[in-house]
């Protein structure tokens, strides 16, 4: 039979319905399609072969989802209820008891891990012992065809996650509409979950993954916690599922998020429940819409936006209760879920709560601290007390702590001027470097920006500067490239670098090329105008970075560190042959954090990792650039996630320290593991990677060999955190 019967759909209709199915995200069953239309078999085969080509996943394809089994043990599978990190949940029927149950099946990837299975079973058995009206009961635990599963009560209703997304979409979620009534409902719901947690904790079971998706509302409107104890140790499982990370970072407690060596206990659940309640009340997470640094701070400091800034009608007491429950230090939170429940109820009923209600200006203090910290790292100061100090003869004024606080708060009456003065020293004489073109210099102007500025930093905005130079106090001259586009680059915590490249006049350029540029020679750069140019309309940031015309900054060349040697000819005189130089490089301080940032410059988008390294030299003038190879590896798979070969550049502080900003860019065509890293980072979930720093022989550092200073390889674990 060559032609389909006339009453069956035409080839073109079949093909179009296939297209429609693909758009709907349905998986195609080639065999079924071909079997259903025998008359069009060859045409459809051809069509499907192109479909396969066009649908091919660019990175390694995920295996097709397992087909739904029809039976597991005695349970007859009716349908799939959902998929989650810990497996698939089916609706099933248990014929012996004539009841419907929810079956949770461990994902296949985990099924071969004996250690995990043992653990899974132990957790399951503990959870199965729990009997509480606020906990979805686990009926049994079984194994069929190698797939371990649980049978649980089937709760017919939305989860809090479902309610949240309905409310966000403005749909009826079956919850009170009146704000006060809704708040009372939300708080009571959370209090009931806290009751359930208190009971479970008393039985020695910690939930560890309290989140909206794990709270189901039954047909009586009462909340029930599910997946009890199923959240296995994240670190233990993350590898076994091909790098898949389970859990809900957004609801994680700081001790979970940072993998602190802190036992997860009742207070971890209190924290996650508090996040859940906060989200119920405000439809947002405690740290959402916070600036990037604020998010880091939030995780590290427990700081969050006060409840009433998003739910103004909430009682002050409720805000205080949440504040206490969201404390970073477990010891500062409610000691147990029962105390949390008690306070929650008291807060809405107007009773007394145990949480302190004094409103400290915590936010400010922390912001100010952060600024101080940035200052300290920027200028390599350990002592925070001096208000002014010198680096290479340039006096740097540090704003008074009160000013910093007011600045952070945005309440400083002369904020603009203060920032102006504050920025000046930031135009640091850190790096002037010569590259392959004779006499070309590249200036890096470093600015430490208030975090809000970082937020405003639009990738389409770049700074335009006009500079004049003078050498050793001589006449001012305008370098050949008079207009420099300064591209914002993230250099490290809060450090924004503006790069400018320009050509020096012949005198200076030739001197540099002859290598006769001596210690102590001064190049003074006058920034005539440095302001943000913009492409997009963003009036708020227009003047944020304007430096007044005529401001003078002096770059001095106290040492050789200012030059990058990598592209110089072989006979380039090495200033490092100076016998006076103490060759003992002592230590390199590596950061424990690497910042991740998305950027979009010059027509491409990129994801870069930035960190600041600090090298300490024994003597002030030992400032040879160090050629290092830095690698970031996944600790488990040992896969190389990013690498960079780099010659450090830095300026010495009086204490002989050099700090170097360094960025890795993540490849556009990422491997699956890199993709996951990106997704994690984008989701705000910190990841730990191993940073190794070793001497590089590839970067043609003339001499002396790096090993003369520092022979070892540093290997350290760094946490990668997203900045925005």
């Amino acid at each position: 039979m060559n032609d389909a019967p006339s009453d069956s759909p035409s080839l073109e209709d079949i093909q179009d319905s296939i297209v429609e199915q693909l758009h709907a995200g349905d998986s195609l069953d080639h065999d079924a399609i071909l079997a259903a239309h025998p008359g069009h078999r060859s045409a459809l085969e051809q069509f499907l072969s192109v479909v396969d080509l066009l649908e091919a996943t660019p990175s390694a394809p995920n295996p097709k989802p397992n087909p739904t089994p029809t039976k597991l043990g005695e349970f007859k599978i009716i349908g799939e209820l959902g998929r989650g990190g810990m497996g698939v949940v089916y609706e099933a029927e248990q014929p012996s008891l004539r009841r419907r149950v929810a079956l949770k099946v461990l994902p296949p990837a985990l099924q071969n891990d004996r250690r995990l299975l043992v653990r899974f079973r132990r957790e399951a058995e503990a959870a199965a012992r729990l009997r509480h009206p606020g906990i979805v009961p686990v009926y049994s635990f079984g194994e069929a065809g190698g797939a371990p599963f649980f049978a649980m009560e089937l709760v017919d209703g939305l989860s809090l996650a479902g309610i949240l997304s309905r409310r966000r979409a403005g749909k009826d979620a079956g919850v009170p509409v009146d704000p006060d009534a809704y708040r009372a409902w939300a708080v009571e719901t959370a209090a009931r979950i806290a009751d359930a947690l208190a009971y479970a904790h008393a039985q020695g079971v910690v939930h560890r993954d309290v989140k909206p998706g794990n709270v189901l509302i039954d047909d009586a409107g009462l909340p029930k916690l599910t997946d009890f104890g199923l959240a296995l140790d994240l670190e233990a499982t993350s590898l076994t599922v091909s790098g898949e990370v389970f859990g809900s970072p957004r609801y994680m407690s700081p001790e979970q998020a940072f993998h602190r060596k802190h036992p997860l206990d009742a207070r971890t659940d209190v924290y996650s429940l508090a996040v859940t309640l906060y989200e119920l009340l405000t439809l947002r997470l405690p740290y959402e819409a916070a600036t990037s640094t604020e998010i880091l701070l939030a995780l590290e400091t427990g700081r969050h936006e006060p409840l009433r800034s998003h739910d103004p009608g909430a009682p002050e007491a409720l805000e205080a209760v949440l504040r206490q429950a969201l404390q970073i230090e477990p010891s500062k939170r409610y000691e147990n879920a029962a105390a949390f429940a008690t306070d929650l109820r008291a807060a809405v009923e107007g009773g007394l709560v145990a949480a302190p209600r004094t409103r400290r200006r915590r936010r400010l203090a922390i912001a100010a601290l952060l600024l101080v910290a940035i200052w300290a790292s920027m200028f390599l100061m350990v002592d925070r007390s001096p208000m002014a100090y010198e680096v290479d003869g340039v006096a740097l004024m540090m704003p008074a702590p009160d000013d910093l606080r007011a600045l952070a708060d945005g309440t400083h009456p002369d904020g603009g001027e203060l920032l102006q003065s504050w920025l000046k020293p930031m135009v640091e004489h850190r790096t002037v470097l010569a590259r392959d073109t004779p006499g070309r210099m590249q200036a890096v102007l470093n600015a430490v920006l208030d975090d809000r500025w970082m937020e405003q930093q639009d990738p389409d905005i770049y700074a335009v500067g006009t500079l004049e130079l003078s050498v050793d106090g001589g006449e001012w001259f305008v370098p050949e490239a008079t207009r420099s586009v300064l591209i914002p680059v993230l250099g490290g915590a809060g450090i924004m670098s503006y790069r400018s490249e320009f050509l020096l006049g012949p005198e200076l350029g030739e001197a540099m090329d002859r290598g006769t540029f001596r210690l102590g020679r001064r190049v003074t750069v006058r920034v005539l105008r440095l302001e943000q140019d913009r492409i997009r309309d963003n009036p708020a940031s227009l003047n944020a970075l304007t430096l007044e015309g005529g401001t003078t900054y002096t770059w001095r060349f106290p040492t050789q560190a200012m030059f990058v040697y990598d592209s110089y000819p072989d006979d380039y005189p090495s200033r490092l042959s100076d016998p006076e130089i103490d060759r003992s490089m002592t230590e390199a301080y590596t950061p424990d954090k690497v910042l991740y940032r998305r950027s979009s410059t010059q027509g491409t988008t990129g994801k870069s990792l930035a960190l600041t390294l600090e090298f300490v030299h024994k003597k002030e003038h030992t400032l040879a650039p160090l050629a290092v190879l830095m690698e970031l590896r996944d600790p488990e798979s040992d896969e190389l996630m990013a690498w960079e070969e780099y010659a450090t550049r830095g300026v010495a502080g009086a204490d002989g320290r050099t700090s170097s900003g360094l960025s890795f860019s993540l490849p556009g065509e990422a491997t699956p593991a890199q993709q996951r890293l990106l997704l994690d980072l984008e989701a705000g979930r910190p990841r730990e990677l191993i940073l190794s720093i070793k001497p590089s022989r590839e970067v043609a550092l003339r001499e002396p060999a790096l090993d003369d200073y520092w022979g070892g390889t540093i290997e350290t674990v760094v946490t990668i955190v997203a900045r925005n």
Partner: protein, 193 residues
Amino acid sequence: MSDTQHLVEAARGGDREALDELYVRHQGRLLNYLRASVEPGLAARVAPEDILQETLLESARKLDAFEDRGPTSFYRWLVGIARFKLSEARRAQQARKRSLAREEALDDSPAGVVTSPSGRAMRAEDGAALHSALEELGGQQGEAVRLRYLEGLSLAETAERLEVSTSAVKALVSRGMAGLANGRLKTDPPHSG
């Protein structure tokens, strides 16, 4: 509810696997939409893969804002984001052309985001293959495949764009796909299996 709707719901609840699954179901087509849409000049600077990644990341961030308007609306939403990312990339490229000191200043940029030349060439091949295969189809077939299949327009919308009837769209897609099968698109899928 369809699979996609379930997955979206789960992904909104923080389920990473659901999110991955959503992407698996759509990203191949989306990438090919981008490949078919990125003009050679732009492709030299930005890989469609980069735009795809940006699109997926953006969609993950904005998942809560997705409004479900029927089974195909998720893919169309993704295409919408991709289109936006595409125009951003074009704008940025324009801006780049305008700026003065750029190329060399960038070569040292730690934010070095430029796709490596070899990587660019490699990917440009894939992208160009599809791009030219669709062009070679001639007439409206290539455009029909691009609009109806890759961009996810409805039959009616495609018909309106091409100024033909909906049944003509089906026929154009059918013949276009057959044309692609007949050796005009020789690119092997990047990973088979």
